[in-house]
């Protein structure tokens, strides 16, 4: 399912202008990443997709719906949003109850709900923790519970707010696998991240935000060469792109493989 923002502005009740006119169309099935400085308005922007926020100005479309015409409950059948802070999202006493809440709430029949919950726990590496109190888990594990809770809702659009925060290498790989699987099922994946390597390796399109606005929009290979934009948004290119740059290469490989493949050509 596709989504679009059309001239969206959002001002918090206290007067902070968090989003200052964003227009973006995200086609169905895209892996779409948002990067950019702290306070840029990333979380505020994506929270419009399931109706937590309504734009102060402009419109947000989810499929052929305009978000203002629908309730949060209706929108959450289409858009799953994994919170930046899992403790804002989780409330149950057992992991499995947090994960089962969504599918139950959406009225899925028992068999389907059970299968979705089991699959979500499996994909997030939490099958063994189903009965655990989320409070007894480490923050990175709770973050994965929050992800599992959204996966179990089986929505055509999945929004991940800083999914790799606090994850170790295995956790990051797990999340990359989930992103890939979601796309292979035709879902739209929108992720906010501060991890530029994760972004470059797993997303086909990247938007850079600063101060409520979009500064750049394109494939990671197009975005991570725009030094002035990166600096303004307080982000940097992925590690090997920075290395290639420091070595004076004309190209900026984004992955280990492409960097090593380009090595022989750079031997004098």
């Amino acid at each position: 399912m596709d989504v679009s923002f059309d001239g969206v502005r959002y001002t918090y009740p206290g007067g902070v202008e968090a989003v200052k006119g964003v227009t973006l169309a995200i086609p169905s099935g895209q892996r779409f990443a948002i990067v950019g400085q702290n306070g840029a308005g990333k979380t505020t922007l994506v929270r419009h997709l399931n109706g937590i926020f309504q734009p102060t100005e402009g419109t947000v479309h989810v499929g052929d719906w305009t978000t203002t015409g629908h309730t949060i409950a209706e929108l959450s059948a289409k858009v799953g949003y994994v919170f930046q802070n899992p403790d804002e999202q989780l409330f149950a006493r057992r992991v499995i109850d947090d994960v089962a809440f969504g599918p139950r709430n959406l009225g899925f029949d028992l068999d389907r709900a059970e299968a979705l919950v089991a699959a979500a726990l499996e994909q997030t590496g939490l099958s063994a923790e189903a009965e655990t109190h989320p409070h007894h888990l480490s923050l990175s594990e709770r973050k994965r519970v929050a992800l599992a809770a959204v996966l179990a809702m089986d929505t055509p659009i999945v929004v991940l707010d800083e999914p790799t925060t606090g994850q170790d290498e295995r956790g990051v790989r797990m999340i990359a696998t989930i992103v890939e699987k979601l796309q292979s099922e035709g879902r739209t994946v929108i992720a906010i991240t501060h991890d530029m390597d994760f972004c470059a390796e797993n997303f086909e399109r990247t938007v850079v935000m600063a101060q409520g606005e979009v500064l750049a929009d394109g494939a990671p290979s197009e975005v991570f060469i725009q030094d002035a934009v990166l600096e303004k948004a307080r982000v940097e290119a992925p590690q090997l792109a920075r290395l290639a740059d420091a070595l004076g290469w004309a190209s900026r490989p984004l992955t280990v493989d492409s960097f090593v493949d380009s090595l022989p050509a750079h031997r004098r």
Binding site: D168, V235, L243, V260
Partner: protein
């Protein structure tokens, strides 16, 4: 400055020892990095060093924990926090809930210590400047983005000026520029004589700023060494810690015989540039 001897710990109502027979000595005026997979016990160890275990979380703690001359188990929590500050992992929970503005939030700890109004104001201004959050001082601590909250949480501990500062994944919500800034601040605190222990997944930054790195795995501090050697150690893979792309690229280049086996594996950009320059200078085969 920090001396942990034979420390073991199990959370209340569990019989599973999260840490067992941990030993750690930290020299004053250094930055110590500790890396470990999720669930390896980083947060647990951070709470032990700073006294939250056993004073707040309870559980079964054995062995001895001495920080800045104080035996943590024997002093009260309010004495412990005068020796060591803890920046907790979830910035959302560090905010006191008692204050209306970031300015008041930052002053809160000093207020409790009875610091004079004028000095308090000066210290708030200075720490806000240090962390680039001056523009947020009049805002509500709750009306902030995740990264902004994390900077406020860090500032609220730095302002206390404790001789020891423990930071549990302090840059997890920060943009790359903010992450570098916080690590630079750590280095300058170290240069001012403060002892820092930082738990982090960002190996590139640890390489640049930590004087020594320990690895937490299998319930123990299983290995330690200078940052470059420790963070390029191939055993990190098995301990679930991984490596930077600089290390991975150099290792892959070695496998393809594009880099010599003698070269030390790089961890950061600064390490990697000379290794790959030397390669480029060589005549092609």
């Amino acid at each position: 400055m920090i001396d942990l001897a034979d420390v073991s710990y199990a959370y209340p109502d569990t019989d599973h020892y999260v840490l067992s027979h941990v030993n750690l000595k930290v020299e004053p005026g250094t930055v110590t990095g500790i890396v470990g997979a999720s669930g390896s016990g980083k947060t647990t160890l951070a709470k032990i060093i700073s006294g939250f275990i056993p004073h707040v979380d309870g559980g079964e703690l054995s062995g001895s924990v001495v920080v800045d001359g104080a035996t943590i188990a024997d002093v009260t929590l309010s004495e412990a926090v005068s020796h060591v500050g803890l920046v907790i992992q979830s910035p959302f929970n560090q905010i006191s809930g008692a204050k209306f503005t970031v300015r008041e939030e930052l002053a809160f700890g000093l207020e409790n210590l009875g610091v004079a109004r004028e000095e308090m104001a000066e210290r708030v201004t200075a720490v806000a400047e240090l962390l680039g959050i001056t523009g947020l001082l009049e805002r509500s601590p709750y009306a902030l983005s995740g990264g902004q909250q994390q900077l406020v949480a860090i500032a609220s501990m730095i302002i206390m000026n404790t001789p020891v500062l423990v930071m549990d994944e302090p840059t997890s919500q920060l943009d790359p520029g903010g992450t570098r800034m916080v690590f630079d601040v750590m280095s300058s605190l170290r240069d001012a004589g403060i002892t820092l222990v930082v738990f982090e997944h960002k190996l590139e930054l640890l390489r640049e700023h930590a004087d020594i790195v320990h690895v937490l795995a299998e319930s123990q501090l299983i290995a330690s060494g200078p940052s470059r050697a420790m963070l390029a150690d191939p055993r990190l893979e098995k301990w679930g810690i991984g490596s930077t792309r600089f290390t991975a690229a150099a290792a892959a280049a070695r496998d393809r015989k594009l880099l010599s086996k003698d070269a030390e594996l790089p961890v950061s950009l600064t390490d990697a540039v000379p290794e790959f320059r030397a390669f480029a200078a060589k005549k092609g085969a």
